[in-house]
Amino acid sequence: MTSSQTHTLEHKRSQEAARRLSDGQFAVLLLLPGVALLAGVVLYPLVAALVTAFFEQSLVLPGRTFVGLQNVVDVLQGDFLRLLGQTMVFTVGTTVLPFVIGFALALALNTRIRGAKVLRGLMLIPWLVPGVVVSFLWMWIFNANYGVMNALLQSIGLIDEPQAWLAQPGTAMGAVVLAKTWQSFPWMMVMLLAGLQTVPVELHEAAEMDGAGTVRRFFAITMPHLKGIVGLVVLLEFIWNFQHFDIIYVLTGGGPAGATQTFATAVYETAFHGFDLGKAGALGLLWMVLLMALVVVYVRFSEKGEKR
């Protein structure tokens, strides 16, 4: 990307000659602070961590030994597939659910109902409560022995007996996904609400005069305008959730019996409890490869869709 190419502003080169930097060089210069940050804070530590995948290395013991692909093989022979499956369930769940709730709320609060403005503000609170408190709050809500969830559901007659939401393999993942959803739907809502503002009202009004119903206008007018923002928030949310850690860790610690273990909790467990940096690095390496592949597929797919 260092070599300069064409500029979108096609204009006189004579003016350019007077300047010290070419457009290309200037463009690269603008990138520098960000690229430097990414290189220093993400890329370098990332490569350093990935390199440990090929070593037997401990967090506490000095020294390390090269072991080639042994760690990767070990990880693949472990319960890698189960981890992958659970990670996908968590990631997809915590991407789709906040999207649905956030979108529904954005649509609702984009109408002229009374109090929409204040509600938009109030709905942000879950996003603003410190993340670590979110985990503890939900752990507390879901607790089998004194949680308010049981009390609430019992009082409206949905359940007879208190349930151990976080301690049953069947409900633990759902509970964790719900807690994470609560934390991230406001962000989705804000972004989508903003997206809705870009939809020209005239288009709706014209369509309405032509007799198009609400649903039809939604798909014919609203959705096409939102494509860009929907793509961006869904992709980012997916990436963030893939590596989300603290809510799962506080709520279930990956349990019961490993039912909510994801790559992120497994890496933490391996690095900080097992002190096994090599295996943690191997998990990270596999994760990286997988996610990259997914994103490439996603981008290819969506670009094809665009070109048609």
């Binding site: 022995n145 349990g255 019961p256 467990e269 097992g274 002190f275 096994d276």
Partner: protein, 443 residues
């Protein structure tokens, strides 16, 4: 507490050169990627001992208790007393309890921390592995530390820390509730069978009472190890993990039956157990002496303190020695700036009689010198003395602590036990899997 206020923002803005250096590293060499492990220098007891006698210097002291409402005053008093006595400044370092060992590990490994560090005795093995803890055996002599306390703060035969507050984890009961089923304070069921009968009686009291708030959440399921030992499993022999043997399988089978009968409850960890107990909704639970303050403070029953009754853990057959797990805090000294004075401080904080007794008044944690244990203040505390007599007296360390990966070993076992509790697998298969996993981590 000597709180150093953060300098103004401008004061910490990094120099331009630094910035360039930092940014430069990314541009270049990913190849140098190793987060090079810093080799620890083994230190002899001589360093600590000789320097302790020399000039005193400033040092750092880390503890998770510096910001804890209940415990902080005790620590501040100790720090203040030492600062006055020696004319040095102690800077305090604090991390939340749950994150403490990870943070301390990173700090010590990165050479960022030197000085005195408050540690849980369970962590000594993994901290010592980094090779930066001083051998404090020279300081352990002639101060009246009990033999048991000194042993608890050793790892692999070396005195890597001075014991500070050593007790055990044992059963704590609500005597009022137990009396309702006819169990008097000094007549707690001695065997597991009798114990189970008592639990059933408690269950019959109704009202949603949880007879025994045993740990069932993954984070605390390691509590089951002591029951495995009670059933006769050694857990580890030499370098061989014995989990998967008959005793461990029986223990898990029994635990599962308690779970299925509702004698223990799902979704309980130590914090939950304390809360349930404080509310009078649990009659028995496992705890260390540190839980007393939390339980009494959270309880709407202002008399709860007088109803707390520590009891010996039931045994498999009458006559066996009750099992209990050593629990406690110690002060270790990490090599580096001020380490010598920090070692002297460690000795002062843990064995100076006045200091220790003042600490006891606030925190109520068992002291470690004979002198302190025999003092009026400590001896007149019924709960404390019963606890040490019935529980601490026969306590042993967890054999897994000897391995650096002990924490993940406990997690692996906990996960398998949980699988049994929720009915995903049977005790035998689970314990064999747990044993294999633990063996793999031991290497």
């Amino acid at each position: 507490m000597s709180l150093t206020l953060p300098p103004a923002l401008t004061g910490t803005a990094m120099s331009r050169r630094r910035m360039l250096q930092l940014l430069g590293i990314g541009a270049g060499t990913a190849a140098v990627a190793a987060c090079a492990p810093s080799a620890g220098s083994p230190t002899g007891a001589a360093t600590a001992a000789s320097a302790a006698a020399g000039a005193k210097t400033d040092f750092a002291f880390s503890s998770w208790s510096f910001t804890e409402e209940a415990a902080a005053p005790a620590l501040e008093a100790i720090v203040a007393a030492y600062q006055d006595k020696e004319g040095v400044a102690i800077s305090d370092v604090s991390f939340p309890y749950n994150e403490y060992i990870n943070q301390l590990t990173l700090q010590v490994k990165g050479g960022q921390f030197a000085g005195a560090a408050h540690v849980d005795v369970a962590w000594l093995g993994s901290l010592a592995a980094m090779g930066k803890l001083q051998d404090l055996s020279a300081l352990a002599e002639g101060r009246g530390y009990t033999e048991a306390a000194l042993t608890a703060a050793q790892y692999d035969g070396t005195q890597y820390a001075l014991p500070w507050t050593i007790g055990a984890i044992g059963l704590v009961t609500n005597s009022e509730l137990l009396q309702k089923v006819g169990v008097e304070n000094d007549a707690f069921p001695a065997t597991i069978d009798e114990f189970e009968t008592t639990l059933k009686d408690l269950k019959k009291l109704g009202g949603g009472l949880i007879p025994y708030a045993a740990s069932t959440k993954a984070a605390q399921l390691k509590d089951i190890l002591i029951w495995m030992q009670t059933f006769g499993s050694p857990l580890v022999e030499g370098d061989t993990v014995t989990i998967g043997d008959d005793a461990s399988v029986e223990a898990v089978t029994w635990y599962k039956s308690l779970y299925d009968q509702g004698l223990i409850a799902p979704d309980v960890d130590r914090f939950d157990a304390r809360s349930l107990f404080a509310q009078g909704r649990a009659a028995i639970y496992d705890d260390a002496p540190v839980g007393r303050g939390a339980v009494t403070e959270e309880s709407p029953d202002k008399d709860l303190a007088s109803k707390l009754n520590p009891v010996p853990r039931p045994v498999l057959k009458a006559g066996d020695t009750p099992r209990a797990l050593v629990w406690g805090g110690a002060i270790a000294v990490v090599d580096g700036e001020g380490a010598a004075t920090a070692a002297d401080f460690a000795q002062f904080a843990t064995s100076d009689l006045d200091t220790v007794l003042a600490d006891y008044e606030v925190r109520g944690l068992p002291p470690v010198t004979t002198e302190a244990l025999e003092s009026d203040v400590v001896a007149s505390d019924t709960f404390g003395s019963l606890f040490s007599e019935r529980i601490t007296a026969t306590s042993t360390t967890n054999p897994f602590w000897a391995f650096t990966a002990y924490s993940q070993i406990e997690t692996e076992i906990a996960e398998q036990v949980q699988a049994v509790l929720v009915g995903k697998t049977d005790p035998k298969t689970a314990m064999q899997a747990a044993g294999e996993a633990a063996q793999g981590l031991i290497g």
